[in-house]
């Protein structure tokens, strides 16, 4: 059975204020879903109900089909969660904290040491394994929290702004970890304010604002749906792009709407025709031997969509 997360009519009210309004969302399969929304949109509120930290005013959530509200113990067994940078008992060392997590989760004693070690390796904290967590910096604690969310090999991973407090290298490491998780068919539901991170690792995005879900779709669909029928892609080159190539050779390829030079080595190309055009485009540009180093979904496309959707509610 593929991993799944379901929010059914999920609603949270604080007094008369509605923090989350009847959210219906069903995610399944091995992929990463980005959960976007401005400050106060209700992301953390949603993720806390998903993990039984707070209780829905209405509605229910399911992890792998098990109701969180009815049986938190069984529902959370296959989930790894990291919400709002929790604190670890300060006198514990990472080894001890992860030992506690693994033990309570039922990781067999024989495997514990190995799993803890590799979890710490992944967050690059092996050198600190036997130092007390109490003296760690914010980012170091966050790394241990990430390791704690993954040490038992969860099939569903719920992360609330996992990159909070991390340095650039830490952020890159988190992305690498998430890509690894996707490879082994895990479902990741992750809130984030870093759009480049979302573009980089997420397959789908859900956008909420003021407790309301605005849309949920694949990243590719979202980008094409909101960009007047055009999808957009950013190409990076190892050297400056010859001016004639921009409008000439590249601009005249089939399906191309516009080509913009972002900087001497980066192009943004708007195109129609979905993934086929995109593949053909990248292939053709690669064959031009201009020094193409990467092609990626343009993050600012998501940013444009994000801003236009959010401000719409004003």
């Amino acid at each position: 059975m593929p991993p799944s997360l379901e929010m059914r009519n999920l609603t949270k009210q604080y007094g008369t204020f509605t923090a989350l309004n009847a959210l219906n969302l069903k995610l399944d399969g091995g992929k990463c879903v980005g959960f976007l929304g401005p400050n106060g949109a209700g992301k953390t509120t949603t993720l806390k109900m998903l993990t039984d930290m707070i209780f829905p005013t209405q509605g229910e959530c399911f992890i792998n089909g098990i109701s969180v509200q009815q049986d938190r113990k069984r529902a959370l067994a296959e989930a790894g969660v990291l919400i709002e940078s929790p604190e670890i008992y300060p006198s514990l060392t990472p080894n001890q904290a992860l030992e506690m997590v693994a033990d309570l989760r039922g990781v067999p004693a024989a495997e514990r040491k190995d799993r803890i070690r590799s979890a710490l390796e992944e967050v690059k904290m092996v050198d600190w394994a036997d130092k007390r967590v109490g003296r760690f910096s914010k980012g170091m604690k966050q790394r241990i929290n990430i390791a704690a969310a993954l040490v038992h090999d969860p099939s569903v991973v719920v992360l609330d702004e996992p990159s909070t407090g991390l340095d650039p290298r830490g952020m890159a490491e988190v992305r690498a970890i998430i890509r690894g998780l996707k490879k082994s068919q895990r479902l990741i539901f992750m809130s984030s304010h870093i759009l480049s991170e979302v573009v980089d690792v997420c397959d789908d995005v859900a956008l909420i604002d003021r407790g309301k879900l605005l849309f949920y779709d694949t990243l590719a669909n979202v980008t094409s749906r909101f960009s007047d029928g055009h999808s957009s892609i950013d190409l990076s080159f190892a050297r400056a792009i010859p001016p004639d190539a921009v409008q000439g050779r590249i601009g005249t390829l089939p399906g191309i709407g516009s080509v913009t030079l972002l900087d001497p080595r980066r192009l943004r190309i708007k195109y129609t025709g979905g993934i086929e055009t995109q593949e053909r485009l990248v292939e053709s540009v690669a064959q031009m031997h201009l020094g193409l180093v990467s092609a990626g979904e343009s993050e600012s496309a998501l940013e444009e969509i994000y801003l236009s959707q959010i401000s719409r509610g004003d």
Binding site: P86, L150, K183
Partner: protein, 294 residues
């Protein structure tokens, strides 16, 4: 490189231990956390100081204090243990639940597949055992003194019974501190309320009940603890009802003061303690099950 998260590797699911096992495990980790904490060391220091003062007192005055081993254990276990129970319960239990919110450590535990009850009960057992360690140290000092004055073998049979009553009292007091602790999300409030309540509040309440309502203050937990020492009395009351003693003293030419004192029976005090334990455990669990980690 093989990764923890098994990039590309199949998921190796684990099976969650049953609730009873989880409580045992959580108790162990919490206890470990207590033992390494500063407050544990501080409490050990306090007990050691109390023990030293006691040893010096007995050594200096002897006399009535060591007239019999019953008098000795009665005054030093009876007098000290109840106070230590309250102190340990406030120190280890006052913020047990509130601290999980304030320090955000509860958010770490809440991500785990454990019932809320497991967290509450595991913490309770850990606080209980940490407190028992304090009582144990005090008992050791006491036994050392006892052996010095009466010989190692001269232990009154009342002592183990009194120890048992002390443990029940500890459970009741801790249950109460846990209940109050789960009313707050700020450690300081938990500490303040339980400390004030146990160190003076209940004593005042007890006096008020006796003086104003003129009934046996059976509903006040501090009333019950007297049996920890009373058991060493030759005329101990084992019953379910307390003794009432009325003494009238002449204080002026025509004025008399009548003082009524109540002494809990042993069975009565145990019932009171268990009552407190059950009511506060049910109440505390009820609250904690409904508390939100907002």
């Amino acid at each position: 490189m093989a990764t923890a998260t098994g990039a590309g590797l199949p998921i190796r699911p684990v099976s969650t231990p049953d609730t009873f096992q989880q409580i045992t495990k959580l108790t162990r980790y919490q206890l470990y956390e207590y033992v390494r904490s500063r407050r544990f060391v501080a409490m050990l220091g306090i007990v050691a100081i109390i023990g030293a003062i006691m040893t010096a007192l007995v050594g200096h005055y002897r006399g009535g204090l060591v007239s019999s081993n019953l008098a000795f254990y009665g005054s030093f276990w009876g007098g000290g243990a109840a106070f230590l129970v309250v102190l340990a319960a406030v120190i280890f239990g006052g913020d047990a639940i509130a601290g999980e919110f304030q320090n955000k450590t509860g958010y770490f535990l809440m991500g785990l597949p454990v019932r809320r009850t497991t967290i509450y009960v595991g913490k309770f057992f850990a606080a209980f055992l940490a407190s028992v360690a304090m009582l144990g140290l005090y008992l050791l000092i006491l036994l050392g003194n006892g052996a010095f004055y009466f010989g190692a073998g001269a232990l009154p049979w009342q002592l183990p019974v009194s120890l048992l009553i002390t443990l029940v009292y500890l459970a009741a007091v801790l249950g109460t501190t846990f209940l109050f602790s789960s009313l707050f999300k700020t450690s300081a409030y938990g500490f303040a309320l339980t400390a004030v309540l146990f160190l003076i509040g209940f004593t005042i309440l007890q006096a008020l009940v006796v003086d104003l309502v003129h009934i046996e203050p059976w509903m006040v937990i501090s009333y019950a603890n007297s049996s920890i020492g009373n058991i060493f009395n030759p005329t101990v009351n084992w019953g379910l009802f307390g003794n009432i003693t009325t003494t009238t003293t002449q204080v002026g030419r025509h004025s008399f003061v009548t003082v009524t004192t109540y002494t809990a029976g042993i069975a009565e005090s145990i019932v009171i303690m268990l009552g407190y334990l059950i009511v506060t455990a049910v109440g505390g669990l009820y609250l904690f099950e409904r508390e939100e980690f907002t």
